[in-house]
Point group: D2
Chain length 309, copies 4
């Protein structure tokens, strides 16, 4: 395995941040959640954690942002810990070939979402965790997991974002009701969707997110909430399904497992080498951070960190 | 990177071959190509090539079989060498979320196949290589590529299988004509489909196939027909799209880039570690080798060779 | 226009009722609404109203049943009276080529249901009527419309059926929420779906339903709540879309505008000649009354009442 | 049945022709068949045949045009005469809810086209007629049928249009090959598609077409190649499926069975009252004659000839 000198890495991050600061075409922040639409697209941050415990960062790496769908990685980890392989009776493991919020394949597949990283699948995962609990307990467990993984207690839910999502949750509610019609929802829709909207509204900075991802990269000296074999499987799902209908393109260009959120964040994992978080609020046509994806491609090229050779 | 002792590896392969010989539920050989339906499902072979040049094998590893869709990996390598990124104007890079021979997404995407490993995409790739050449030239180039990569001149096309495919090529012809209707076919349909049916009818043994895959694993001391950055990208496509609508499941269970064929073969790549070929003719519901996929999962578990950590 | 002697007609109805009483394959009552699943499939009724004011009937023609989706004809008439052609901004006029409760075309058509007689379309129509009113006002208006059209005040909503529908309304709620996500729902989902479930639970007998349909047949001497040009258009929609994905088959076999409900009723219109209602609770694979459809085909053959010559 | 005075009818036709001559937005002639794209969109013709044997016309009613898909009505009549109800094992009777050349529903329905008036269905019908014959025999039979029905021997196939269609038949060939893959094509694809392209290239004027449609309207004193019960069923299919994905709209606006062709012609049937042909080459977004559809709506309003009351 080639190694990259940390000093060189810092230069790479600085160069990326500099180049992204100058970018003119920055994409559009998500508008379907009004609260997210207010975030300035001028921002860009990047942070990474290394096996030796070092943390590097550049740009707005300390600014908190809404992690949105990146939360799906952590709720999946929690759900697998709780239910084990029984979870896969409720959600599949295949790329969907469709948009993040599509309901078409849900009808074709009789209420079983294609994977845990499209909205329907993540709602099923949240519903599975919620079973027998109250939403506040589930959210507390998620925050505890994130704080433990990041070793940072300053991670919270942005209540105004959660409220904004809840007020515009018709499509997610449709997905939940459709699953309920097929017997694939265990809790009242309002409870599950309420929990889901709050989990998406967790706020973290790039630094916090990169730290929270260390366990997925298998970095030494950090908390290990999940077994190695399960980590591999979560990474596999991130690689095949982590960027909705642009997952293949991300694998092709970057070659690392990753998960994006409409808040503009991306968490990427270079197994054994680094946990990486980037953020820039403007999205591309597929709903992934435009500059974030470009930064990851730049970083991959500069470091050779692809899992593919 | 953990290393596995070659002696241990041979024991693992023997154990796999032994276990697969005893399997009772072996899947069903493909029947839509009559010539393939005649192959006995009792067979199983596995072979792998290592960085130190060693070759290990077990079972029917020297028996030639029809590589079928595994040929798509090599025609993609040839096409990228010939056209470079211009190829991506004719075919996408996303998992399809549908069966290998589905025409639905082709209508939705206006004649652009979702990726080069579903039938429509592979036909477009063959059509791109064929441009300005005769089918026999293209097939000669493919054989030359395979013989060079495997360092073995005893690789041929099975003419009776090719004829059987051509006699049952209605669905592939429909895909080609549909692309032609959208301006995404450059040669007469009969030429492209004729070439495609012959490329699928290449016969190789597990040993030959594992040797031909060494360049994708980046093993030292073998011919290098493709640049490292392009190898990474081919591997990425194999991981996200190599097993049709079971690609996510293979990534989840095995964690290696792979490509299956309806002849029952699978080529899998552990970058830097091994090139692996398995074969057993019986297929599962998704059209991939049933015992082959199980053997790969067994091997992955025993070696820890996942790209995901 | 050929005329059929009323005495002959009564013989035809008696023969139909006799033949249907003896039928062994009677279909299956709807089970997804438990209250409907309890109705005995042994029943069959038929009634018709003629231009001279005569009413003929046979079998269980006086037994009330749940009209279910047949209510969509009457809410459409009310909505067109209230909104006129503006209604067509919210719902289309084309056959859907899909099941009554499919959500697929709704995604493809961005929240605009294909026609007012599939569930999504009928929910949009109810939502349009509800605008600015309370559910009880809308339901009172519907009952008033039906009582006036049938000249019979003994028409009511079965509250236990309405409650049963509400308790199993996940799929309809999904359709409503999906439309809400596309801005095609004006009232809170619970209000619209609550109204919709109650309108479906109206109870009528074949005699009452045939009487309520007289205005669509343009029979003289009955109340005229809708203009002739609008009646033609409602009949056109019944013919092209009235039996979900079996509409073409009903047009082919019977040749009359008709609307079926999962309660087992069918209202059919022979313009200028008769208003016809049949009922038998067992459904065929498309969700239409099995014996009802057969009875209509028999009646059409015996009378030659097709609109097609 | 109301009657319209022939003198009044002539005035109505003149007014329609006058109004259509002045129309500025005339739609676009079909361009995917180059030969059709050369026809001037300035033309408009209308003709009708009445029960008393009178023929009325206005505008370019004597100008021959390519009847294209209107030929599907006549090949269906021939196929039903030859095969009877056995034809329905190869093609359905339901509106497709999709474009005329869509292949999506063909995959969903395993090679059985949804109805005989979309391209796939018409190809299956032609294939059924062709069984055991040569293309020239089938085309001779079609011409003979048309000449007999119109009582006019001057009806021919435009060879240059047929050649132009054949040169651009990729999509239709895809449909045929897809059906072949499902065992729903009996002849070599080239024979069936060759026949189909020629049948679409029949040239007729509005006057000839209206005369050829008299039997469908059941007008007295004309040849009767088809039984009354079968006529009703062909009319039913025209009403539910005759205008592709605008069939519901035509039924709603015009209320008559009709069949359109991309040459700009429409044949409409007012059972017992009139056979009507209109023609104007410019098409609307659904592929039907723009002015033709408007003229039919105007005529329907003026005469009250709807089948719906």
């Amino acid at each position: 395995m080639e190694t990259v000198n940390p000093a060189d890495l810092q230069l790479i991050l600085d160069e990326i941040a500099h180049s992204m600061a100058a970018a003119t075409d920055r994409g559009q922040p998500a508008t379907y959640i009004p609260e997210l639409g207010r975030v300035s697209p001028d921002q860009f941050g990047i942070a990474l954690c290394l096996p030796d415990g070092q943390q590097l960062s550049a740009g707005d790496a300390a600014t908190p942002f809404s992690i949105q769908s990146i939360s799906k990685v952590f709720t999946l980890a929690i759900a697998l810990g709780r239910l084990g392989d029984a979870l896969w009776q409720r959600v599949g493991r295949e790329p969907s070939g469709a948009a993040f919020n599509s309901i078409v394949s849900l009808e074709h597949d009789r209420g079983i979402p294609r994977n845990p990283f499209i909205n329907a699948g993540a709602i099923a995962v949240t519903d599975a965790i919620l079973q027998g609990l109250q939403p506040r307990d589930v959210l507390a467990e998620l925050l505890q997991f994130l704080r433990m993984a990041a070793e940072d207690d300053n991670i919270h839910i942005d209540k105004s974002v959660a409220a904004s999502e809840l007020a515009h949750a018709h499509r997610n509610t449709a997905l939940a009701e459709f699953m309920a019609a097929h017997g694939n929802l265990q809790n009242p829709t309002a409870l599950t969707i309420g929990t889901y909207c709050h989990q998406c509204a967790v706020e973290m900075s790039c630094v916090q997110l990169a730290r929270a991802g260390r366990f997925l990269a298998g970095l030494p000296g950090c908390p290990r909430p999940v077994s190695p074999s399960r980590i591999r499987r979560i990474n596999a799902l991130m690689l095949t399904c982590g960027h909705y209908d642009a997952s293949g393109d991300f694998a092709y260009r970057v070659g690392l497992p990753g998960k994006s959120g409409v808040g503009g964040g991306i968490l990427a994992i270079a197994p054994g080498r680094a946990s990486i978080a980037v953020w820039s609020p403007g999205l591309n046509a597929q709903g992934n951070s435009k500059l974030g994806a470009e930064a990851m491609e730049h970083l991959g090229r500069a470091t050779g960190w692809s899992v593919f050779g």
